[in-house]
Amino acid sequence: MSEPAFSGDDCPASGVAEPYVRLALTGPLRRSAGVQHVSVPCNLQMTLGELLERLRVLCPATAAQLSPGAATPGGHSALPAGLLVLRHQQLLPADPEFAVAAGDQITLMPMISGG
């Protein structure tokens, strides 16, 4: 396994007193980040696109996997191809503009293909 991006269970943003979105990483995303959970500071709410951008900054090793997918017919950039996003176990729309809020528990679940 490659060197973890951060030692310990969480990226450095965890443990801060301000409101945050709690991220659980799975599959190759977890492996790239080197941690399973990341706490992203969040004032009230942010979009999924902003959340992923914050994760890219906090855990740079995830950047390649989090690159946006092909643009939608409307010209908006999409979430990374094959990335399922769950909030409290509910699948969220693959829409970078979808809002998440402080206190949400979000799971990032990339589709996998190991055979």
Partner: protein, 238 residues
């Protein structure tokens, strides 16, 4: 799905599973008449094919190119050490016939591509997708959607396993989940054979349910297992 009547000997071989509620002679006859495409027969596909052969599926089409490498042997249970350097798919066919001599095995010594997907998927009643590359999964699912065949999507990564059944229009399309090849997916992935074997067996059970017409296949639901913690979740996809 059509049926083929069982002989007395076949009824004896499968007698323990004939007792499964909702399966019975009718289910076994459907399996006997069925053809399943398994691509590939690596860690996941080997286990799936082995369980399908054991269960009495009549015909398996095995698609897998390349020659057996030493590094395949930690997970590809239809391969043996003495077969290193020889075609993987032939080893798989040999081992399956040892288990079930009645099985009709068709070997295709190549991977699924956009060029051959329609022909190979069209030969089968059901597909077990155990390919390590998203390009193959997309080609197989596109063909299956055109031809109206269900696909059991089985995959793993490290200690995680993933399983769902794709059969549009009743379910999402695979492309609804994976519109294009995801960035960063690498051909070589960390794997224990016990993990790939687990999801391979689960995939075989989904195929058996689809073919025999009983139980509740994972339509519009995705099972995700983490064997590191033994946590499991079923995600509603629609």
């Amino acid at each position: 799905m059509s049926k083929r009547l069982l002989t007395d000997e076949e009824r004896e071989i499968w007698s323990w599973q004939l007792d499964v509620e909702g399966f019975g002679d009718a289910g076994q006859e459907r399996l006997k008449a069925a053809t399943v495409l398994v691509s590939r027969v690596g860690g996941v596909g080997s286990a799936a094919a082995y369980e399908l052969a054991a269960a009495g599926v009549g015909r398996l089409i095995l698609a897998h190119g390349g020659l057996l490498q030493p590094s395949d042997l930690n997970r590809q249970l239809l391969m043996t050490h003495d077969w290193i350097g020889r075609p993987r798919v032939e080893s798989a066919a040999r081992r399956l016939k040892e288990l079930n001599p009645r099985l009709d095995v068709v070997t295709i010594a190549e991977q699924i591509t956009v060029e051959n997907a329609d022909e190979l998927v069209g030969m089968a009643d059901c597909v077990v997708d155990a390919a390590p590359l998203f390009q193959e999964r997309l080609a197989m699912n596109d063909a299956a959607e055109r031809l109206g065949r269900p696909v059991v999507e089985a995959a793993m990564y490290e200690l995680e396993a993933s399983l769902t059944v794709i059969h549009p229009p009743g379910t999402l399309r695979f492309r609804d989940l994976v519109p294009e090849v995801p960035a960063g997916w690498q051909r070589r992935f960390p794997v224990f054979g016990a993990v790939s074997g687990t999801v391979g067996c689960l995939a075989a059970m989904e195929a058996i349910k689809l073919l025999a017409g009983f139980g509740e296949p994972l339509f519009n639901r995705l099972l995700r297992l983490d064997l590191r913690t033994m946590d499991s979740r079923v995600v509603a996809l629609r």
